[in-house]
Amino acid sequence: MFRISTFFSMLLILFTTFTLARAGNSYVETASELVDNNLYFTAVPYMKEYLAVGGVASNSRVEDLIDEIITNTGVRQFEVFPIRILERSNAPIIRYILAKKYFRRGKYDRALGNLRKKISTRHSVKPFALLLEASIHAIQKRYASAVKVYKQCINVSNMHIKREGDPNRSRQLSVNRDNCIVGIPRAQFAAKKHNVANLSYLDLSKESYIWPEILFEEAWNSFYMEDYNRTLGKLVTYKAPVFDYIFNPEVDVLRALSYLHLCLYKDVKKTIDEYYSRYEKETDRLHGSLRRYGKNYKLFFSLADKARTGKLGAKNRILGRMLKAILRDPAYIEQRAAYSKGLKEIEALSNLDGRRKKREFLRNLKTSLELQRDLIGSYVRKNLYMFISQLNKGFEGMSSIGLEINYRRKERIYRGLGDFDRTRGDVKYLKRNDKQYYWSFNGEFWADELGDYVFALRSECSK
């Protein structure tokens, strides 16, 4: 009896495999045909179906196909796939997606395991895989290894940029390279090699898309080097109108902290009060609104789109700034651009012959585009909440600094030294120092000076 059952089951397996393989092949063929006609979003469900059925071999036609689709739709479309399905494939591109998933879940060793399976330098995913690998090393405090991989990432990214003809792809690679460039000082910073990190930050070109954000990191590095004037100089750059899209509440906290270290208590107090008056009420209001949105990604998508098209209105100033920051984010730009391209596929499909086929394609495209929209909405939501969290952290930070000042004041009084002199840390005093660049910044910035400002404030601590 057993023998017969086994026989039939084997027969069944053979039959199923054969059928599925045949189905898989048909998915690939359809997807391939769609890609050839630039219908990337339409092709996505077929590729997903294919992945659900079987694995992807390395350097196969299917892998190339997925790579092309990802380049045009973004990697997130495939990131939503369950791990168990992705695990089946051996192709570098899938392994990279898998590694990214593990990375997000904090399973760094598994992520590293997927990345370490040989990916050729010439493979299109290699630069991104290297960035991911280096980031894992840095997180796991293997700074030397991190720096080594970051350097490799820079070289490989440059190599790919030279070969790349697609401007979209080229931009992605440039951003990737720049992230690797700043990855090095970041690792050095984490390893407390602040002097080295200071020099390494200079390797990032000011023309880089990510440079404005990095300025803040440089400011922290200077802070750790106890070069508070340089920290303040770096931070003041954010007051330049060209950087009005940058939303980073921590900039104010770092500024207050720098003043505190220079014992310029008046300035600290001023910074704290300004922070509270600027953000307190609006944060509460914004938080209330966002809570009402819940997890309706479509609303978040629309919110960002309104901001993009200038239809948001000026009711909530902070929200506007936050959305402005999100809109300048390369990840958002990439996803949004892909979505726009996807919309154009509707038009292309409508010209297609054959009703049944057309209906099927349109349904598939709709699924892909809705997912893309939700992915964008989710991204916007996540960023907005992150900003709010930063603001709240900022409130705490500021209050802590305020309490610290009070503590110091009290100490002085208890020691019989009296309260702090009112003139200390006064702006008037600063103005007397002609070495400083402490002027009104409106319209006074020169592009080549951005990020190079250094304050000349004297520490009041010894007095």
Binding site: N392, E396, S399, G402, L403, K410, I413, D419
Partner: protein, 957 residues
Amino acid sequence: MKLKLFWIILILTIISLTSVMVHAVSNDSRRQQLISVIDDELREVTRLNKRTRGRKPLLFLRMAELLLEKARLVKEGENNKYMAMSADKRRRANKKNHFKNSRGYFKQAQKVCYHIFKKFPHIKQKAEVYYILGSNAAEFQDFKRAKKYYKMAIKGSTRNRNLMLRTKLALAEMHYNDGEFRQAISLYEDALKKHRDKWWTKDAYNLAWSYFKERKYNKAISRMKQVYKMSKGARFVDVSERARRDLSYFSAMAGKPQTVGPPQTGEELVKVAKYLLSYGKYLQARKTFISALNKLTSDKDKVEVHVNLLQLYERSRSYQKHLQTSQTLAGYYRKNILNDEQKEIYKLQLKKMASILQNQVVGKTYLHEKKKRTRKTRQAVGYFDVLTGVDHKNAYMYHFAAAETLYAVGNFNHAIDYYDRAYELSKVARNKKIEKEAQKGLIVCIQQKGVSSAKKRKYTVQVYNDYLKNHPRSQRASAIYQRLFLEYMRKNLVDKAEDVLVRFKRYFPREHQKQETMLAKIMDYYKKRQDKANFSKWVKKIKRREFIVNPKYAKQLGRILLAMQFESVQGFVTKGDKKKALRAYVDIYKDPETSTAARRNATYNIMLLFHELRDARRTVGWAKRALKLMNPKEILRFETSFLTIAAELFSRRKFEDSVLIYEKTLKKLCNTKSKNKKTFFKNAYVIHLSEKKVEEAKYLIQQTANCHIPENVVNEARLEILKSLKELGRWNSVENQIAKLEKKRRMWPELIGPIYHLKNALERNGKFDLARGMKSKIMRFYKYSRKRKMKIPLSGLDVVAHYKVQELGVVVQEFNKLKLAFPEKNYNSLLKKKFAKLDRLTAKALEILSVGSGKGLVRVYKVLIESYESIVREMREFTPPGKGPEYTKSFRKSMIQISLPILKKVGEFKSEAKRQISGNNILSNENYLFMSSAKLPIKIEYQYSPGAVLMDRGGRR
């Protein structure tokens, strides 16, 4: 003038009031500043708390802390205001109302704390909250609750060291105020280790007092000193005045005169000490006196302190310190610094203490406490020493007393010196009694153990001679003579010792025993030094009966004298001068006065010397003498010498001499347990047999029948005799010998061979009737031996195999008789029969192989091979009669095929025979059949090994 003074006072008052007011105002402003900062902090905390939606317990805690801090500051202000009121106004004021503000803040703080516990029951900073609650309780005068909260705060506070410190200090202060000093001490101690703020002196001051209250004076003083010292520094609150005041108090109570501040003079300390003395604080007084002593400069003052100390030490029975002080005072006494009263006290103290200690030493109290007793002796002697310096006139008395004290504890070594001094000084002082006693003490001490040899050397002879000079016949003199004698002997002054012996004999002629002992010492001395002359001088004296000694001892002395003779001969031997040694031994041998034992020794030694000189003839002669003189025990001791000598003689072919020594020694050893008896016996009979002296060998066996020689050895000898008889062809004797031996069944295996030879001899001589039955006897002996697994000699096995092979011959003959013949049917039947015969033959042959005879084995293989080869030959060479060539050809072919395995078997037999011959070293006449490697048509029967010689048992060819 008065008016002027009034104005000055008024101005000063105003100035002082102004300064107080300024101070109050400045404090007020400071407080206001602090309150303003606290308000700022509170605002900040509230703002943050609002932002975090009251989710952070730490913010509440901070709030509570700030409220408590503010409450304290506000209360401080209220307090100041309250105190600034006039007494009347204060009395009328509503206190509750006055402190309303601060109470409000305290309550707020408390409320916040309760809120924390309610909302965050698992908050980690519980200790901090408890501290605030404790502080609040303290503010509300609820100390019991405050203590409870503080304790809880301490229990929970592990990370916040500052809080722990504050809590401990607060709790310690509460305990201190409540008079719970023990609890306060542990808390203060702990807290003071960790903090050094300006209030440290105040807390340490409390701790010092806590120690004092708990009667820990040393700690209290040490801590208070620290407080005094630290108070001088600007960092701390100055409590130095209080500390100095309290320190004096502590010190006085603790009996420690030191204090802080300007040091006190010696004179001041003396006053303090006297003061303490008057109040009966002897211990404190003593300590103060000692402290004063270090500061005093005047000798008179020092003497006064010492005299006081002497009395205090006496009171406390501090003997050692009393003695040290006494010794110190001795110096001042010599300088005549002491006044009469002090002198009187000093002498009295010395005598009193010396007497107490002497009594303690002599008494039973410390009899079993050796260490204490020794110490007390040392102290007593110390006092006597001091007294000799203070009271010169009676010095001999103190020396004598010291000597007696030392004698009492058995310290004779030191006692001698004191006795000697007492003896000498008493002679000067003409005190006969002490002189006599001291001399007596000296004599007794010298004899004791533990007296150093140097002292013995110094005193013994002198003291004994002094005594014997005055009392040559006294009862004590007898012992003294002996001791003096021993002393001289120890110093190797034998002449003087002999003189003492002579004197002793003169004054004590009947004490023969003692004389003999002394004499023995002298004799030993001369014997050791080999001084034969002096030794014989004293032996002669004894013989002349000048000294009466035990006859045994006299005899022993004679022997010693003889031994001394031998010792000289031994010297020659050692030096290798054998000639002189021989001469000396011969002299001893010949000396008629020589004892038998000495003669025996001499004879033996002479034998050995001649043996060493390889003089066989004389060796044998002296050996005979030695064997005659020596008893079996002695021979047993030296049997190896005789064995060696006999072996040496044998090797020099002196068979007769050799066998003579073997036999004679064996006879002497007959009843001893000698292990060499076997060797002597074996060697003797072997030599006899080699000399063909069979009868002597037989006689030897007879003579040694009772010598307990193992039977197997004797049987072996008998067999050897049988063998010799056979060799000599004395067949009658052989027959007799066999008849004797076959009675013992265990001899049967050995007899198989001899019986066979006897049988052959008888047959050769035609005595077939006598030979008859011998074969069956042989087979019977064989079967019997085989059954009992007895070891049969190879020759015996060869005999048995020989007979068995003879029987095999019959089977072979039957086999050979059967010839193959045609017709075919017959042929086959014959061949079958032939094979059956061959099988029987083979079985029989294998049976013979089991006998184990080498020769038999070879013969059996020979028979087997021959038989197998014969059948092969017969089969192959057979030609079927009347048959055509084709039939013949096929017949032969098949015969060849059939015979092949048989031929193969032949080969196997050959190689097996060869293997057995080589493997078991078989020497057989048929060996040539298998061992010859030459490829010759014929086999060579005899082979000669070059260099081989055949000899008989005597080594003759």
